[in-house]
Amino acid sequence: MNLFEILSIIFCLCGGFFFLGGTVGLIRFPDTYSRLHALTKADNLGLGFIVLGLIMVSSSMPEIVKLILIWLLALIGSSSACYFIGNHMHQSNKPQSIQDESDF
């Protein structure tokens, strides 16, 4: 087992940790805005770590480019989805209590 493989495992575990944090935040946070915050920030960081871990063990340049592209696209997608949900919530002025969202 060489250095790159060990680094890869460490980065992937870090990514998994951030994903876990994001998911716990999604379940435990009280309102939509903070849930969005947990989802977009923690999960994108987690995905970034996992991509970094996979780059460590990838064999060719096109693979690395594709992995980075996946991360960038996920960043763009999740940040704009976050904006749309937040904007919708803001404009419809829904009450943000936990009861309101409890069935979701």
Partner: protein, 306 residues
């Protein structure tokens, strides 16, 4: 290790499907269904079928989710009460018995059969392609693909007919998106078109092909439409219809011409252009048909002319 992963996916799939059944709100059920599609895509990856994983993630989770949400918005009543789902005991017992019977017989299937993989493997040089799934779809079983395009076209005609007869709403161009919406189109649309073309090119020798490219392009089209971009609506009525029928009619023309030259339907000469023609026509047709299914027709003129 892989078995643990399989077990986790299996438990999640069954759990999500149960929750879809027992979900009290329709919205919740639809969101769970999208999750179900994504877990299925993971299962396809585990089962060495990346082609199906791409199609499932784009169609099963993406487009079906959009369709269900769209319908939910149209049929929702304001005083929709949340119901509790009760399963009668008889039905539950029958389902469990069915699971046991079917599961038992599934496990009795002998594992030493080779299916058709050997036949396909030996016939691969005849097709001029290097990837077996694409060869089956576009060459060996091109009847299936042809009839599938026919089913898709029939569904589009059916949807258009029902919409027009009942003057259902929902096919007008949505309001133009705010800056973020326009920005995301500017970034994502070129990527999606490139990915669609890449998948189409990849299909000759690796997982990818007409279906996957078609569904990715359809996703791009739906995004454009939802953001209120007018570029799909400027296509004239007749050219839209032409694109709808493109895939089916290409197959029809090729089948008729091969009948004329070789006395057999859909046998093809050893030229790349044949397969490429089918592939491109199928891709464009699948994309246009799927877009039409979602918004009936991006050209609202189609709904006005009767």
């Amino acid at each position: 290790m892989n078995l643990i992963f399989d077990l986790i996916i299996a438990v999640c799939l069954v759990g999500i499907s149960m929750r879809i059944i027992f979900a009290r709100g329709h919205f919740q059920a639809i969101v769970l269904f999208i999750t179900y599609g994504l877990f299925l895509a993971l299962a396809w990856t585990r089962l060495n079928s990346p082609d199906i994983a791409i199609a499932e993630a784009a169609v099963g989770a993406g487009l079906t989710g959009v369709l269900l949400m769209d319908t939910l918005g149209a049929i929702k009543t304001s005083e929709e009460k949340k119901m509790r789902i009760k399963v009668p005991l008889k039905l539950a017992v029958m389902s469990i018995v069915l699971v046991i019977v079917l599961g038992y017989s599934a496990l009795q299937i002998p594992s030493d059969f080779s299916g058709l993989s050997l036949t396909v493997h030996n016939a691969m040089p005849l097709s001029g392609l290097e990837y077996s799934v694409t060869a089956v779809l576009l060459d060996f079983r091109s009847y299936d693909t042809w009839l599938e395009l026919g089913v898709l076209l029939t569904a589009v005609i059916g949807v258009l007919t029902v919409r027009r007869r009942n003057s259902l709403t929902g096919s007008a161009l949505p309001a133009p998106a705010e800056p973020v919406g326009r920005w995301i189109i500017k970034i994502l649309l070129p990527f999606m078109v490139i990915i669609g073309g890449y998948l189409l090119w990849l299909g000759a020798f690796a997982p990818g092909g007409a279906f996957q490219a078609g569904v990715v392009l359809a996703g791009a089209g739906v995004m454009l439409w939802q953001a209120g971009h007018p570029c799909l609506a400027v296509l004239s009525n007749s050219s839209w219809r032409l694109l709808l029928c493109l895939g089916f009619s290409t197959f029809l023309i090729l089948a008729a011409s091969s009948l004329y030259y070789a006395d057999q339907m859909l046998t093809h000469p050893q030229i790349k252009a044949w397969i490429l023609g089918i592939e491109y026509a199928a891709t464009i047709s699948i994309a246009i048909c799927l877009i039409s299914l979602i918004q009936a027709s991006p050209n609202s003129k189609l709904d006005k002319v009767s």
